[in-house]
Amino acid sequence: MHRLTRACAIGLFVFWGRLPAQETSSDQGRLIQELMARIDHLEKRVAELENQPKAVAQGVAPRAVVPVAPPTSAPAPPPQPSMEQMPGMENPQPNIPVETPVPVYPSLRFAGFSDFDFEAADRGFTGPDHHATNSGFTEGQFTLHMTSVLSQKEAFFGEMTLSARNDSGTAPAGSPAGSHLEPGFNAELERSIISYNYNDHLRLSFGRYHTPINYWNIAFHHGQWLQTTVSRPEMVQVGGGFIPVHFVGGLLEGSLPSGPLNLNYSIGVGNGRGEVISRGGDFADINNNRAWLVSIFAKPDHPYRLQVGGAAYRDEITLLGDHNFREWIQSGHIVWAKENPELIAEFANISHQEVGSSVQSNSQAWYVQTAYRLPGAGRLWKPYYRFEHIHVPASDTLFKDAAVKSLAGSVAGIRFDISSFAAFKLEYRYQRRQRDEPRLRGVFAQTSFTF
């Protein structure tokens, strides 16, 4: 009877998982509850019947007895347990029963994110009498991430993206002169990390990371579904250049014994920026000076889900023509990740000084984003607003050459969660750059999801 009820329960969950997500009615919920209650009742009845002689003899309530395996370094296989998994949970193949929880190494599992977008935007004047207005659909990033547990202490994490670009491919023979590039998809290895976890206080890893000096950069990565908004803040825009988004090297991370403060740290050494400053030094460092970073953040017990932290980053950048710049970054963030309300605020100051020059320039960027998941019947809706600001002084020749510009802008929008794994977002965006630069006004819509 135990097997029958368990098989039925597993069959139920497997079937649910294979069907497409759809709206839940209160009748269905009630039926599920009744069925689950029935299964519990049957299991309880079977347990009572199995233990009846003993219970009657002792005059106490029946109780199942589980033999405990002797402590061993390797887990003993349990008696035929079955398991199932939701995305993000233990089972690498969602909704497929797993016969044993005994780990098998290596265990490779895949998951992904993607999005599709629509925009109707006025990107500013391009001539005295007409505006450049864009509208249409765009394919978002297709993000694939893979996790493989290599042993109890070792794990690999990889993340690849395919991005639609108008300059990713090579034009076929016969194309007009000068058009050597054509639209296509750009493949990129975003993260590739091998880590060794000694314990909670010490984790050593090597690879290609999102530089851990900025909250957004390491909390949301390329999964648009994870972030509340359609767009990323400009200071962490992929390809934007303000913050070094990627970092190739090694990291030492962990928690510090700090009581209710729950301090965590990261110490890293890597290649720093490449000759194109929006990219990390993937192939090798462009000079003989490694970049290093130190970050520390607290996740106090109270208030729950508050995080406050800061980071410092140091690098030397060599541009084409052997122009060397020293770069210092100081950053800070405060985040309250609860959704009622959600608050994310970040600040970064970047100092550049050309080697041999006495001129030092400081560029700043910050943003504040707030959102609120509506209560009750409106809980699928989450309105949000973000203001962001970037100031790049004229003296910052490094950013000037790399087209990193000042900006002020706002986004306001609303997110609707279609299901647990997909969302619609609608956003109005307004951005202005320098005085003589075109302004952006537009409406952006996105459906993003995980799979």
Binding site: H2, L4, R6, A9, G11, F13, F15, W16, L19, A21, Q22, T24, Q28, G29, L31, I32, Q33, M36, A37, D40, E43, V60, A61, R63, A64, V66, P67, A69, P75, A76, P77, P78, P81, S82, M83, E84, Q85, M86, P87, G88, M89, E90, P101, R109, F113, H145, T147, V149, F157, D200, H221, S255, N262, D301, Y304, E339, R379, D417, S419, S420
Partner: protein, 178 residues
Amino acid sequence: MRFALTFILLAVPPVWSASLDLEVQRPRLLMASAVRVAASGAVTASGDIAIVVRPDLPIDTLSFAELRKLLIGDRQFWSSSLRVTLLMRAPVARERDVILKTIYQMSEAQFRQFWISKVFRAEATNGPKVVFSNEMATELVAAIPGAVAFVDAAKVPQGLKVLRIDGRLPGEKGYALR
């Protein structure tokens, strides 16, 4: 009979996979059940959720904050040689609802997004293992060193250890998980 029951079960549409609508189920199990005496000798009430581990785990008590750190994956090791393995009841179970409500303070959808994000950030290699009954949870706790499960306090079998939360056992006044 088997075919009929299986048919009924399979005919039910996918409720929890779409499940922002099923945030918190009302308690549905044994609220009025009698108070029982657990293997440890403590008085346990069936409405409370017990934190169950193997008896060879060298920990007897956790603060509520430490328990939360375990559950949100901020603490992944009991010691350098022993990993924490979280066992969570599947959706709709009361034990899961209590844990989500009191410790995570999240809806079912927020809980899923939380763990997907955590794995995506490479902060954890996997989320909690899903179990479908208290019996399955206790069997796995007994079998897996470092496993921790959350079961109805009235259904804790002999041979497993119930952890104190802030110095209190299930059934005691002020116990956090109920």
